[in-house]
Subunit: 342 residues, 2 copies
């Protein structure tokens, strides 16, 4: 006998309460309500209490749009990554989220699908919603980024651009440890399976590795990959093999995993004939046999720091332009002495 759709609340939505409703309810003016809610102490304690109670009773929730209009502040930050499905960004996203919500800010994520054009469009679209933008591993060129930054504050992550504040990992410690381990194990000829040419981080990794290898008198070559993915790593297998090295650093773990899998398919013993080291220590790096060694960035910390710095930038409390966070080498089974297994 019940009405068929009794459970469906879908239709009529009550308009949310405004400060005007509260004002009417308590017999004060809207401005007083605004003050009661935003400037504790400015009003008679009793009035303030009455207003607060009425607000609670009416289920008042501030309308962020309406507030944003006079203040120009939206209480929102935008985070743009090149590929949201890349496991690398997990911890970063999580760290950023935590820092943002601690500060009462809302984080908006977007994804540029590895396309510079789309990244620019997205960034511009997002800029009208947010108070500031976080660009992670941006593929834009310096000028475009400076352009964005002339509209609203921009914070770079895993990339440096003159004049723009940034939070980046210091790749040196991790690379030094890893290379040192390889050297001790007897490796002399190594390769770097590189990533996207436009990636700042790719450049840093290569340069740091190169300099160190030269310094330590090891031979090093760059092997290019076609994409920073597992497919890209698999596809580069023949070229890596042809390079005749005993160890390879891959641009990131995805590429390393692809290569690792392909080695297995072709019965190339890892780590016996080839040691493989990735970057980022993403989810799943420890899953294969052999488990992948990797150079880990403190990504969640990077996310947090980036948000916090952006927020302090919004306050006007700008610090220096760059924050460095240390990487470290996570050694797993994919590394051993060359030809250890005959």
């Amino acid at each position: 006998m019940d009405q068929p759709d009794a459970a469906a609340p879908a239709q009529d939505r009550k308009a949310p309460a405004t400060i005007y409703d509260i004002a009417r309810h308590t017999g004060v003016s809207p401005s007083t309500v605004s003050r009661a809610l935003n400037k504790p102490g400015r009003l008679n304690p009793d009035t303030e209490r009455r207003i607060r109670e009425a607000a609670k009773e009416l289920g008042y929730r501030i309308n962020p749009m309406a507030r944003a209009l006079p203040t120009g502040k939206t209480g929102t930050l935008g985070l743009i990554v090149s590929d949201i499905t890349n496991p690398v960004y997990f911890d970063l996203v999580r760290g950023a989220e935590r820092a943002a919500s601690e500060a009462g800010f809302t984080l908006i994520f977007a994804d540029s699908q590895e396309s510079g054009e789309l990244e620019l469009t997205t960034a511009e679209r997002l800029q009208s919603y947010v108070d500031g933008l976080l660009l992670v591993a941006s593929r834009l060129d310096d000028r475009q980024i400076q352009g964005l930054s002339s509209v609203k504050p921009v914070m770079m992550v895993n990339r440096e651009v003159p004049g723009i504040p940034a939070v980046v990992p210091d790749v040196r410690p991790g690379i030094t440890d890893a290379l040192d381990q390889l050297r001790r194990l007897g490796h002399r000829r190594i390769a770097y399976l590189s990533g996207p040419p436009l990636s700042w981080l790719n450049g840093m990794r290569w340069k740091t590795l190169f300099d160190l290898a030269v310094e330590w008198d090891m031979s090093i070559v760059e092997v290019k990959s076609t994409a920073p993915t597992r497919e890209g790593g698999a596809e580069a297998f023949q070229r890596v093999k042809a390079a005749g090295v005993t160890a390879v650093f891959a641009y990131n773990d995805l590429v390393a995993l692809g290569l690792l899998r392909e080695c297995r398919e072709h019965r190339i013993d890892v780590p016996g004939r080839l040691s493989i080291i990735g970057f980022d220590d993403i989810f799943g790096a420890d899953l294969p046999t052999p488990a992948l060694s990797s150079i880990k960035s403190p990504l969640s910390e990077i996310g947090e720091k980036a948000v916090r710095r952006l927020l302090s930038e919004l306050d006007g409390t700008q610090g220096g332009t760059e924050i460095l966070l240390q990487t470290r080498f996570v050694s797993r089974e994919s590394v051993a002495g060359p030809h250890e297994v005959q």
Copy 2:
């Protein structure tokens, strides 16, 4: 001789252009500008063109906050997942993003960190920003969700609530295939390593599996896990072992991976002594040896469909209340006949 900070555009940000600027620039009134930009054809084609040109020239970008005030539409959707770092959500997020941006909407993500309380808070906070909410695998109870839905449209994903539209996978096809394969291989006693009791999907998986096992005259038991994570799976190892089954379905791939790893640690042969099947076919499921078999949901499609339905809900074009999408079994190395390896 350059100024030290010449490259730093940080400081003075020019205020963005408004329709008033355009109006002044072209000698018409602001309302005309608004019409030119929003109602093509309403104005003299020549006027419209002039206004559009001026808008471009001044780099005009609409202020979404200002627009939201009179219209009540923000052009934004909110997506809440229980844990943003869970690889399960990758494809879902990506599909949702694609559908949203196709429609010119911006997607806001949030994460409830597996906590019902936080989920409610987050949902409420988000609601004032967005036109509609997508709740993925929500841990809230039906009443809370109906409450949210009385404020703004809500769309459920991977969960059903009376009266609320939903997009969910149909777990039957995948489970049927998987169980059928196990049966043919000779398995008779299986276990379900269950997930969070509050998870609707967990309930569906268990119930479907149970009914089918009973129907096919196989014995089945539920083994509880403490968390839907790799740790949770590893931790359940002893209980699974004690259950004396030859095959186990795990609530999701994370749990399955945890269990798989623990089997290896304890030298329990998979799939020889125990076949393992997960759900979701997440990134990395194919990485371990043996590679994990899994029942896959079309997550990216689910994300897309959910957004599209929510959008049509906003239009008033509401369809039915439920959309089902088919799952399928992805068979890999973690499944074989029992005791195949003696």
